[in-house]
């Protein structure tokens, strides 16, 4: 008798396909894969020297925003790399906030008081929400810094303080690399930390890890059975997947989701119109999204 894992490996089989229900969430790899940090769990291995994807310029983003308006996109997210390394980032946000709500995923290191004041002014001027999501991977320097880099805990907290002082209440994003972050007790520790920073309405998002990129080296790669097969997903059971309602734009085209940008097979086309079809969930990371019910959205 063979184990379930062996059966799955032997069976091979085709992956289920996910249809695009509606293009609600549009992501931009606005910082490329260039980052001022080199976190050990980064699923796309961003670093100061990683130019797999380059930054997006304002004109490139605006071209896609025109298409997005025609297609009725509901919300926009910006990530990298570190988005605020991109000199066009604030102009991009200004253009975006005219047509919809925006979220920026940042490591918090470039959030000085002047930038935070400008971001608060952009938020104030818009009809729509602006969310800043700041990544943190520990309750203190001892737990955070081995993941995100020496000295980062204090610098991230300084960025959060600057946001709060400007009147912006960030969503703190923690991955489950941080021990117990996913438990109620772990969340309570983060809430306590944020209250100590003077945040009376703490906001927190916990994400599981994707065992790809740098994380594959740190925590281990996926096993071969960790893949979705046709028939393992109930009919209509893929609506919870973000790829059923999102696309990701990088300098090299449109990808199915924010996770697979370092997989050429995750690319769907050159424009949004090229990418409105279905996608095969054949990557191991697709298994994580399905099993953990992950959404990269806030």
């Amino acid at each position: 008798m063979t184990s379930i894992a062996e059966e799955r490996t032997a069976a091979g089989g085709s992956a289920p396909r996910v249809e695009l229900r509606s293009l609600d969430t549009l992501w931009f790899q606005v910082g490329g894969t260039v980052c001022n940090l080199a976190c050990t769990h980064c699923f796309i291995s961003c670093s100061p020297t990683n130019h797999t994807h380059e930054m997006l310029r304002l004109a490139e983003v605006e071209r896609t925003l025109d298409e997005a308006v025609r297609l009725g996109v509901r919300e926009y997210y910006f990530t990298g790399g570190e988005p605020f390394l991109n000199p066009d980032m604030e102009a991009i946000l200004e253009a975006t906030l005219k047509i919809g709500p925006a979220g920026v995923l940042t490591n918090g290191l470039l959030l000085d008081p002047a930038r935070c004041a400008r971001l608060a002014a952009l938020a104030e001027a818009s009809d729509y929400s602006l969310d800043l999501r700041v990544s943190l991977d520990g309750y203190d320097a001892a737990t955070n810094d081995p993941i995100r880099g020496a000295g980062t805990f204090e610098r991230i907290l300084a960025g959060i303080r600057n946001l709060v002082a400007a009147g912006l209440n960030p969503v703190i994003t923690v991955t489950e690399v941080c021990r117990d972050a996913g438990t109620d007790a772990g969340k309570e520790r983060f809430f306590a930390l944020l209250r100590d920073l003077g945040i009376d309405k703490p906001r927190l998002k916990i994400l599981p890890v994707f065992q790809i990129g740098a994380e594959a080296e740190r925590g281990g790669a996926y096993a071969s059975w960790q893949r979705l097969r046709d028939g393992e997903v109930p009919p209509g059971g893929l609506d919870h997947l973000q790829c059923s309602a999102c696309r990701m734009v990088t300098d090299q085209g449109v990808w199915v989701c924010p996770i697979l940008v370092n997989e050429p097979s995750g690319k769907m086309g050159e424009t949004l119109a090229d990418s409105l079809g279905s996608f095969p969930l054949e990557h191991s990371a697709c298994w994580t999204c399905h099993v953990y019910g992950v959404s990269c959205k806030t």
Binding site: H51, T52, L71, G72, P101, D127, G167, V254, N262, D274
Partner: protein
């Protein structure tokens, strides 16, 4: 700087990360250039048209009316519902519609049923009715925060215990959407959104281009929804209206104990076609609070009734709405 740290900062020079492999940048760029579809301009236009196609449903159109009142979640607030029936009648509403979520939050859920029938309220199902009628174990409210889910489970359990099989069966027979004509305008009435019963349409996260496409796809001149608990109205550049009518079950998280509903009135096209008024409603909120305490419902809920500020279900608020919130 340690050797490991230095390596981490320089490892990608000239190289791309392809999954876990490092390959020359040119190899990755060549692979991505060949990947995906590259449609011709005419094919792109056709793909957009297919995506944007209208999905007109067979829902019969009610009316035409010249003036209607539309309320959102009742949340077992019979005092709010009684005030609504009186106010709508006083303002000359010819019909009263309710967009679902009859139960939850408040006391003695079945007490709203006779009022709904007496007022001839035309209701649709919310996620609460759908869940109760199907015997689901949770309200399908769509929360992620454990604290929100704790209170949602508490109020769903209380409501489920307090609904007779007959009341549940009646809920299960309610339609999921209605189409209503007010003057020349055909309005689509849903609970969350036309796409999902528990989709949240908050003002700060329901942008104009999105709403225009949503109305195109559903072939209507206006959209009325609830589910978020917060009322708003947006007139689109196309001249159509989207109204979140709010709820009459609990206050709107603004420090005011009143609850809200919407009054819609036909106007000539030269006067905009439709007048939308969001109406604040005074009701006997101390009586509601007292009834909730008798039923030993959480003090957190009672505080909301007495102060106008939400104490639970805050995690789902977008940045803008959360900033305006006390908690």
């Amino acid at each position: 700087m340690s050797e490991t740290a230095l390596k981490k900062l320089t490892v990608h020079r000239g190289l791309a990360t392809w999954g876990e492999r490092l390959v020359p940048l040119g190899a990755f760029h060549a692979a991505t250039a060949a990947a995906g579809r590259r449609l011709a301009p005419a094919e792109r236009a056709a793909a957009e048209q297919t995506y944007l196609r209208s999905e007109r449903d067979a829902t019969p159109v009610e009316g035409p009316w010249s003036r209607i009142a539309v309320c959102g979640g009742v949340y077992s607030n019979r005092f709010g519902l009684a005030a609504l029936l009186e106010d709508a009648a006083r303002r000359g509403a010819e019909a009263i519609y309710c967009l679902g979520d009859l139960g939850g939050f408040g006391p003695e859920p079945e007490a709203v049923w006779p009022l709904l029938r007496q007022g001839n309220v035309r209701a649709i199902q919310g996620n609460y009715e759908e869940s109760l009628a199907a015997g689901r174990e949770d309200c399908n409210c769509g929360y992620t925060d454990p604290r929100d889910n704790h209170f949602a489970a508490l109020s769903y359990g209380y409501t489920a215990r307090g609904c007779s099989p007959a009341f549940r069966a009646w809920m299960g027979g309610l339609p999921h959407r209605r189409r209503v004509r007010v003057g020349d305008r055909e309005l689509l009435l849903v609970h969350g959104s036309p796409r999902r019963i528990n989709e949240f349409l908050f003002r700060s996260t329901a942008p104009v281009p999105f709403l225009e496409v949503l109305l195109d796809q559903n072939g209507c001149d206006g959209l009325l929804c609830t589910h978020t608990g917060l009322h708003w109205h947006r007139r689109l550049p196309s001249g159509r209206d989207v109204v979140n009518v709010g709820v009459i079950g609990r206050p709107a998280n603004d420090g005011d104990t009143r609850v809200w509903y919407a009054l819609l009135e036909a106007r000539g096209e030269s006067a905009g076609g439709l007048a939308v008024e969001l109406v604040p409603l005074v009701y006997d909120h101390p009586a509601l609070a007292a009834a909730m305490r008798r039923e030993r419902l959480p003090e957190e809920f009672v505080a909301t009734v007495l102060t106008g500020w939400w104490t639970t279900c805050l995690e789902i608020l977008p940045a803008r709405e959360r900033a305006a919130s006390r908690y």
